[in-house]
Symmetry: C2
Subunit: 435 residues, 2 copies
Amino acid sequence: MVDSKRVVKVALLGCGTVGGGVIRLLKENAAELATRIGAPVVVKRVLVRDAKKQRVPECEPGWITTDPEVVFGDSEIDLFVEVMGGENPAKSYVERALSLKKGVVSANKFMLARHGKALLAQAARAGVDLAFEASVGGGIPVIRTLREGLTSERILSIHGILNGTCNYILTRMRVEGLPFAEVLKDAQRLGYAEAEPSLDVDGHDATQKLVVLSMLAFGAQVDDKKVHVEGIRDIDELDFQFAERFGFTIKHLAIGVERGAKLELRAHAAMVPRSSVLANINGVLNGVFIRGAALGPCLLMGPGAGAMPTAVSVVADIVDVARASLEGTPGLSTRAIQPKPRELLDMTEVESRYYLRFDVNDEPGVLAVIAKALAEQSVSVEQLVQQGRGGTGATVPVVIITHQCREGSVLKAFEEVRKYKFMSVPPRLIRIEDV
Amino acid sequence: MVDSKRVVKVALLGCGTVGGGVIRLLKENAAELATRIGAPVVVKRVLVRDAKKQRVPECEPGWITTDPEVVFGDSEIDLFVEVMGGENPAKSYVERALSLKKGVVSANKFMLARHGKALLAQAARAGVDLAFEASVGGGIPVIRTLREGLTSERILSIHGILNGTCNYILTRMRVEGLPFAEVLKDAQRLGYAEAEPSLDVDGHDATQKLVVLSMLAFGAQVDDKKVHVEGIRDIDELDFQFAERFGFTIKHLAIGVERGAKLELRAHAAMVPRSSVLANINGVLNGVFIRGAALGPCLLMGPGAGAMPTAVSVVADIVDVARASLEGTPGLSTRAIQPKPRELLDMTEVESRYYLRFDVNDEPGVLAVIAKALAEQSVSVEQLVQQGRGGTGATVPVVIITHQCREGSVLKAFEEVRKYKFMSVPPRLIRIEDV
């Protein structure tokens, strides 16, 4: 039943491509949305920095304002939708909306990673909802699934391809055999990477999303700056050739694993078996592989970014928050998320299989030194390949796949090997994730 | 806030492995569930056929009854959970619960495929919820995703691996090179297939699930007996060898595609590219690939059956239905699902690429006959392989991969070819799905 006397009035904070998508979806699906919510939902205000900028035709000029006081001073607004991104003023706007006891929908991973716990607590105190499906995985309903679908479930681990730019670059490096720098340049030209690509290719974006997912999956409040993070700049063609040879492909993964009292969080490039579902999520697509105690394995895959997919998630949240508000019982979902500080596992304590690559001078005895250093740390070798002379000067790669071992042991073996003079570059390590 | 004065009292209808899993999860996660729902949830009655059967230790003997009157006569019950399966008495029990204006959670695909529209309408009239996440895809939150996550989305197509038994058998046939009959026997021994396997291996189970998904994805009310269905009994080792050669693998898919005024629904074995995410969903896992107008592609994968995964879905539904009931606003989700009759596309109008296999006597002129028959129907050949003499008597396989064409044209070409005497078995056709 649609209550035609009530209308849910929305204010958009920001109106870039995602905001435009939200406006479009709200118009196109008005009837359906009214049925789902129980009342029509309309946009009333759109707060922007530049009133003159061209927007989607569905955005009515009368909605636009550059004055936050106009938006927050309008007591008719039921629900605020933050699609501006960044830390501030987004955070202060969201705080202001919550202090007015209004529900908030946000697509802002950075704000949620840094201030999620405080904002959720503020929302809970105000008795309103703070929903953020669009902050992770674009159109993939991963937040919803963790929050609702797996209500009664204990999550054991998460392995996510959470950054579309990394996945795009690694996919093209593998398929076309091109070096990182060249694909990055092309990705920037095509709009898949920013002019300043560090947030994406150095793994920070994936880490922030991992921190947001950890709030839901592990009830954990974590400082994203304390999560071990590596990017993909060091991956080269030779690594892809060896990956191919050993039956792997290389993906940038954000990983969370319950380890008793501690939580293991890390984001880095990893070798995954080619037969894994994650290995076949290519291009800008994202994927989240969840392992639950009762459920077992579960994967969600879809577009991790893009205006319309992200807008689909924002609108799904608008429906939830508007319904709860209309029913007079908002805040239940938000209150159920109560992240607590969790101690992180030190990286030396991580256990994994490893791909190790030593670029060495082709001298007698080198293999023996490496093998001895690994053996002394109880790092057991599953496969070893010493490739014939390549094109890179006088060095040849010695590549080792280890059995499961502690990362600290590998690093100690690295220290020992580096005492010798047969390597001019540090050895490399890529973790193998059997997902 | 947990309302300690209120308690949500649940009656289970049936208590097999899924019911046992539900009881276990409700106990293990009691505190968390109370927070999510806003009140504790407890089991009060469990209706079974055999009171003496051994059950999970969490199931208290005082709950058990074999008398439906005890369960339906108990006015304290807030919510009925139907986990018995089959058409009757499940359907009459659900109708009775709805007539008492109580919310219902069901895991019953057959009942929903056959009577979903009527039961949803009854629930809507009664102003209560009928939730059925566990009816399709076990622990995969696909119903939830279609119902809520993609609220504002127009679904263009669904490709689902919906039957774990078929997927298990096809996976082993591919990996081990074994014939269907042998793997089926083994699957029966291991409990992955029923003694009477027809429901699974002939595609009926997948079809029923497709009909349930179509209610949500396409708003369609469809008679499952009118959906084109094929099983996997005819797939043999030679098909897998050719699939490998052409870069495909064979999966049993349930497919729904919007085709203008008509809806295309079908369930059958299909060739999918080995690089497809669906190709790498193996064993008893299920997967649903959804394509949306705004969202683009999206995949959900997970355990399609099993007591605990299915119980996770049932409990997620219990949370939803209990919350809505406690808030005094039940029925909104159910009312939003209003399936309408949709006309199905005739199979002759389906357009696809095809794998065609003619087992022919090795005589001159055979290829010319086949090529001419296809050409006359404008079926264009992409690849053709005529294999040397195999072990099967004097016949050799001629295998053709076609370009996109109408299925009716292929069938007409088959008719023409069958006029000749060089084939003792009918030609085979496996559709190629580029997902």
